[in-house]
């Protein structure tokens, strides 16, 4: 376990040469300084909170409909 994480660290940390074969995702992330990771993080949080708000909204709508039906 220690060796694996050490190798992972050395691979990404120690090598300054960008000419190693990299997959396109890594190239895109690196050239933009990985700002897309932050964009993705914020998007996920926002969407998650939105979904939660929708579910509460739906619950409140149901209650309001019940009140309306029963009047």
């Amino acid at each position: 376990m220690k060796i694996n994480s050490l190798i992972l660290l050395v691979f990404t940390f120690g090598i300054s040469c960008p000419l190693l074969a990299k997959d396109p995702i890594e190239v895109a992330l690196h050239s933009s300084g990985k700002i897309y990771l932050v964009v993705g993080t914020l998007a996920v949080i926002f969407i998650g909170i939105l979904i939660y708000l929708f579910s509460i909204d739906k619950k409140l709508t149901n209650i309001e409909n019940q009140i309306k039906d029963n009047e």
Binding site: F13, I35, V38, T41, G48, I49, Y52
Partner: protein, 353 residues
């Protein structure tokens, strides 16, 4: 307004964290040096690629190779090639004040307005013979004057992380928020068991609902961050991932438990007890185990460099602490909304059934 002040405070703090967290620039950094394997006694033109610099032809940039805290080599000349590339010429003395034949040394750049930035252990220099005293005696000037300071607030530059450092303000507060919400549910559950007020149990369940939401968001945002920095969406080698998954499973079970019991009072009592036990387990899993295991991929743990000076840079702190408070307050706001909708539902079910 008086009752809801904490909600608006939470929203304001999160807004601040998003705006400053995204717009404050990173410290400049050194991306690549060519060549990196040098020999003592030779002259080299080092081609240095930088990040987040805005060099112009008139920029006054100094370059240094740091041998140790006492000795360094200043470049003979620095030529600006591009806004993020320069060429620094160094004359490496024949003998180095080091007891090793080959060692890695740091390179430092210092520029007006941008400040001083370093790439540790970037160059390896080989010397043919080791002569510590001779090297010190023959060493050229060690007087470098003052290093230049940056003229604006900047976040630390960290290799591998680069801009994703900003996730500190959005991913980490999810876990802080989850913990505070679980603490709130603990208090609520204990209060329920004390005075049997069913509303306390409903509050506890709402807080756990949002805590689980935050935990899921924390895992999801962590997976995105990990894919871009560790190279994988998930790994079972990392203790923090394992314990957070375990904690989430624990609290998924809380909802299964509630769903399985029909009688309201029995449901409340059992889930209150479960949430108290669950909190103790969660504290152990989230805070004790990672420190016991020690090994970690997370920055600041397991021998990895942290985010700044001593683990957390002060420029990060000014955004991180408000972010934690803000996201936590927002979490309690969401919990309160859930609680209020539960109360209303209960009220109208009783009225109309």
């Amino acid at each position: 307004m008086k009752r809801n002040w904490w909600k608006y405070l939470g929203a304001a703090l999160v807004l601040y964290a998003i705006i400053v967290g995204i717009s404050r620039p990173l410290n400049p950094g050194i991306l690549q040096i060519d060549p990196i394997a040098l020999e003592a006694g030779q002259t080299y033109d080092l081609n240095i690629a930088t990040y987040n610099t805005n060099f112009t032809n008139g920029s006054d940039v100094d370059a240094f190779i740091k041998i140790n805290d006492t000795f360094g080599i200043q470049s003979q000349s620095v030529v600006i090639l591009e806004h993020n590339e320069l060429k620094a010429s160094f004359v490496i003395p024949e003998k180095l004040p080091s007891i090793l034949q080959r060692e890695r040394y740091s390179i430092i750049l210092s520029a007006d307005g941008l400040g001083t930035f370093i790439r540790p252990s970037a160059l390896s220099i080989v010397q043919k013979e080791i002569d510590l005293n001779g090297a010190i005696a023959a060493w050229p000037s060690n007087d470098f004057g003052k290093f230049k300071r940056a003229d604006r607030a900047q976040f630390p530059f960290r290799a591998i992380l680069y801009e994703s450092l900003r996730n500190l303000f959005y991913h980490v507060p999810m876990w802080f928020g989850m913990t505070f919400l679980l603490l709130g549910s603990l208090v609520s559950s204990v209060l329920y068991l004390k005075d049997n007020n069913i509303e306390r149990d409903m509050m506890a369940s709402s807080m756990i609902k949002v805590a689980v939401l935050y935990g899921i968001l924390g895992c999801a945002t962590g997976a995105i961050w990990a894919r871009g920095t560790w190279g994988t969406w998930w790994t079972f080698q990392e203790i923090k991932l394992n314990v957070s998954a375990a904690t989430l499973l624990l609290y998924f079970a809380y909802f299964l438990l509630r769903a399985a019991i029909d009688d309201e009072i029995l449901k409340a009592k059992i889930s209150s007890v479960y949430s108290i036990i669950g909190f103790v387990a969660a504290v152990f899993l989230l805070f004790v185990l990672p420190r016991m295991v020690g090994d970690s991929l997370h920055p600041g743990n397991g021998g990895n460099p942290g985010f700044g000076g001593e683990d957390l840079d002060s420029t990060l702190r000014t955004v991180f602490y408000p972010a934690v408070i803000g996201w936590t307050l927002l979490g309690f706001w969401l919990a309160q909304l859930s609680y209020r909708s539960e109360i209303l539902q209960d009220y109208f079910l009783e009225k109309f059934d």
